[in-house]
């Protein structure tokens, strides 16, 4: 085309069409239009919002974070008192509650998920059928229905305070929640904690040493059990030597309710149970897919060199499967944190319920509160995906 038309192009002055067909000009043009539209949209929304706020006489700014909130919460991990506690404080109470329930749910769902995922691949037909049923039922029913079912259908129907279920006299379960002993550290308890940290570090160093020795000499050393031994003995000895400086505050029935201990409300229990089992099903699928992604030849090769079935799993299959398991596993963890926001449906005081619902309704600072809450979730997601990227890079390097 271009060669045959040279004469034509020469005979005509440069037209606006050919100018527009210059790629750089076009790219610039498109981008300017996009940026312009975006800027106009932002400006439009901003002026509308400013006008609406003025018309409705609503305040704006972040000063409200230092005003007293004036409402109470049934579950808090840090000190908060009605009357003096601020909205900022309420935000942190909510954030901690969100992180509390989601971190426990993450640990439990990962453990259960691994277990079910392995069962799903069992050679025993009935066992794998059971695991399949578990996964399919939990994955195909909305989480919110499950949460509400556990809350209204199970934990709200527990016995009354007087007929509490009693676990060995230290934990009590009734329709007001689960009362577990809370630890009360004594003066010298910091020494036990220090000993524990030191022992853990020592155990890790032992493991590195054992691994290096095995690489050099081929001799094995039971580093895992030795590490456990170090941690238990060192921590135990220091604990006993300092005179057992940890006591437990056990809940006791006083009048119409239990006092003391650490009270976990039914909403927390329902949320924890449903988050755990719902995501354990997703985790199980990730584990199953990961293990299946390791080719059968690997198992056969490991069997051929005479590894025992347990070692085949631990040394050959799982390390390779982890490459495929980790990315979906981490996105499941992120989903646990995000889905813990459904707490608002059953009144567990997470950051959405406390801050985005109650605080917003009371104070009316809609934009600020929505922005802060979203920023919180975005921070968590970005942090997790940051570490995820580091992991991926390391794994990819190791693969070469």
């Amino acid at each position: 085309m271009a060669t045959s038309d040279t004469s034509l192009v020469k005979s005509q002055p440069k037209s606006s069409v050919s100018f527009f067909y210059d790629e750089r000009v076009r790219n610039f043009f498109y981008q300017t239009i996009t940026a312009g539209t975006f800027a106009w949209l932002v400006w439009y929304l901003f002026t509308n919002t400013a006008h609406n706020l003025e018309v409705r006489g609503m305040n704006s700014g972040f000063g409200f974070l230092f005003q007293t909130a004036g409402f109470d919460t049934d579950f808090k991990l840090i000190e908060y008192t009605v009357g003096t506690g601020t909205y900022g404080r309420i935000f942190f109470v909510g954030v901690l509650n969100t992180l509390f329930v989601s971190s426990i749910a993450i640990v439990l769902s990962t453990v259960i998920g691994f277990f079910v995922g392995v069962l799903r691949l069992s050679t025993n037909w009935l066992i794998s059928l059971l695991a399949l049923t578990y996964v399919e039922i939990l994955r195909n029913v909305p989480l919110l229905i499950q949460i509400i079912f556990w809350y209204l259908g199970v934990f709200a129907l527990l016995p009354k305070v007087k007929q509490s279920a009693d676990f060995l006299g230290i934990a009590f379960l009734n329709n007001r929640g689960l009362y577990v002993p809370s630890p009360v550290p004594g003066d010298l308890f910091w020494m036990t904690m220090t000993a524990f940290v030191v022992a853990v570090v020592a155990a890790f160093m032992l493991r590195r040493w054992a691994r290096r020795r095995q690489e050099q000499t081929g001799q094995q050393f039971p580093a895992f059990w030795a590490g456990i031994g170090i941690i238990v003995t060192l921590t135990g000895v220091v604990y006993l030597a300092t005179g057992m400086p940890l006591s437990w505050d056990i809940a006791a029935l006083q009048g119409f309710n239990y006092q003391g201990g650490f009270a976990l409300p039914p909403s927390f229990l329902a949320l924890l149970v449903s988050l755990t089992i719902y995501h354990s099903a997703h985790m199980a699928e990730a584990v199953r897919a990961g293990i299946l992604s390791v080719s059968k030849g690997q198992t056969e090769a490991a069997n051929a060199i005479g590894l025992k079935p347990g070692k085949v799993m631990a040394l050959v299959i799982i390390p390779q499967a982890m490459l495929a398991i980790v990315p979906p596993m981490i996105s499941t963890w992120m989903n646990v944190v995000k889905n813990s926001s459904l707490a608002v449906a059953i009144g567990y005081s997470d950051v959405v319920a406390l801050f985005m619902q109650t605080s917003l309704n009371q104070s009316g600072y809609a934009i600020e509160i929505v922005a802060i809450t979203m920023l919180f979730y975005m921070t968590i997601s970005l942090t997790i995906s940051f570490f995820m990227n580091i992991y991926n890079k390391r794994v990819q390097l190791r693969e070469r």
């Binding site: 975006f38 919002t49 209204l152 995000k338 917003l360």
Partner: protein, 441 residues
């Protein structure tokens, strides 16, 4: 070596192989650990099934006036009487009982509309899909909302009906003879010999005549207006998730292409948009929609809550779909892009003719997975006060005769969702198998 093997006596295969006994031995009792596990599993299954059976069937009460009567008959069983009394509310919400036929008709019409996609021999299936997404909503809106209809709605409604009829006839002829409707019409008029131009003009004239006829007919149709706050139950859940699904795919494709664009401004805007929406929970976006949209819009211009929710759900799902599409686009080898460019195709032709058709095939399992997620997530609208199916399930326990009846409605709701979602995921696996065949060498 080969000789050594063949000279020996050839033993017959073990006789028990392939029988039920061998199956039992291999799959259930291969070792004593396995035997133990089998009996453990049998016990669990017995325990669960007998418990559910006793609660849900043998001890259940099917007919009662209220929960007290249920208790008096059998306190250990499910009180299905309450569920039965409320079942219409689960499906149709608080829609006026005399007008329920409109929802049923709407549901029937969308099924009729989409059936040709699954029929063998039907031509131009892609248009069936497009017309469902772009025209059915007008028909649905007219049926569900009713009330005064403006000129635009009248035109679109007539268009939808004409297309629906044409679509159905096209499907019928496709199954019967493998021909498309235009071919049949041209053949019927004996115009096969005419030029393309004349044929096209004739078809257009027939279409215009049909449109005029339908337009004239629909002018007399009047439906009572049903306010959006009476919409509810499974119907509302399906409306919200249906619009979300219809919007998510095109929105996701646009966002994903923007994210992979060479132009930095477009890329950054799309990436930022996708990442923000994906990193926050849906419920925060719903709260944002209900609290901040009214502030964003010009004074005096209000959206009702349903529209706010639908906008939020659409944006949220477009962002999730964008990541699915992006993964699909990344799976296409670079050579395909380069080959398309070498052929002299522009960006849009390259995407539309070469890349997207291949990528969409890869994406089907994930797209369906996303749809399932969207359907399940739609229950969240109950938190901000829409009477979707979940809120209807919860409302039973607020009703005076059935006060405190929590478990049974929720079990029914869970079963309802399970059936829909499980069927969808099974269907997507089937699609994956039938479509995947073409991509493997």
């Amino acid at each position: 070596m080969a000789e050594a093997i063949h000279t020996g006596e050839i033993r017959p295969p073990p006789t028990v192989q392939g029988t039920w006994f061998a199956w039992l031995r291999d799959n259930l009792f291969s070792s004593w650990v396995n035997t133990l596990l089998t009996f453990g599993a049998l016990y669990i299954i017995y325990f669960a099934v007998s418990g559910v059976w006793a609660w849900g069937i043998t001890n259940a009460v099917w007919e009662a006036e209220n929960r007290r009567v249920c208790f008096d008959i059998n306190p250990d069983g499910a009180c299905w009487a309450g569920v039965l009394a409320w079942f219409d509310n689960f499906i149709w919400g608080r829609y006026p009982r005399g007008e329920m036929w409109r929802i049923n008709l709407g549901a029937l019409l969308i099924v009729v509309w989409m059936v040709p996609i699954w029929l063998p021999g039907v031509k131009d299936k892609i248009y069936v899909g497009f017309s469902t997404v772009f025209l059915y909503p007008f028909l649905g809106f007219f049926l569900f909302a009713g009330g005064e209809k403006g000129l635009f709605l009248q035109v679109m409604l007539s268009l939808a009906i004409v297309v629906l009829i044409g679509n159905t006839l096209n499907g019928y002829h496709g199954v019967r003879s493998g021909r498309s409707l235009p071919e049949v019409v041209i053949a019927g008029l004996g115009m096969k010999a005419s030029s393309d131009k004349v044929q096209r003009k004739t078809l257009l004239a027939i279409f215009a005549a049909a449109f005029a006829l339908v337009f004239w007919a629909q002018m007399g149709w009047v439906l009572v207006s049903v306010e959006w706050n009476l919409w509810g139950g499974l119907f509302l859940t399906l409306v919200i998730s249906g619009i979300g699904i219809a919007f998510a795919l095109p929105g996701g494709i646009v966002l994903a292409m923007g994210r992979r664009s060479q132009l930095p401004v477009i890329r950054i805007l799309c990436t930022g948009f996708i990442e923000v929406f994906r990193s926050v929970p849906l419920i925060t976006i719903l709260f944002m929609a209900t609290t901040m949209f009214p502030l964003f819009l010009p004074e005096g211009f209000t959206l009702n809550k349903l529209v706010q929710v639908i906008v939020a759900v659409c944006l949220f799902n477009a962002c999730y779909m964008a990541e699915v599409v992006r993964a699909g686009l990344q799976a296409i080898p670079r050579g395909q892009y380069e080959a398309a460019m070498a052929m002299g195709l522009g960006y849009w032709k390259m995407m539309g003719l070469i890349i997207m058709p291949q990528a969409l095939k890869f994406m089907i399992p994930n797209i369906v997975g996303n749809f399932i997620g969207l359907l399940k997530d739609t229950t969240l609208v109950s938190i901000i006060g829409l009477f979707d199916v979940l809120n209807m399930l919860k409302a039973v326990s607020q009703d005076v005769p059935w006060r405190g009846l929590h478990k049974e409605p929720l079990v029914v709701g869970a079963a309802l969702f399970f059936v829909i979602c499980f069927a969808m995921s099974k269907y997507s696996r089937h699609l994956e198998e039938t479509l995947g065949g073409g991509t493997q060498r």
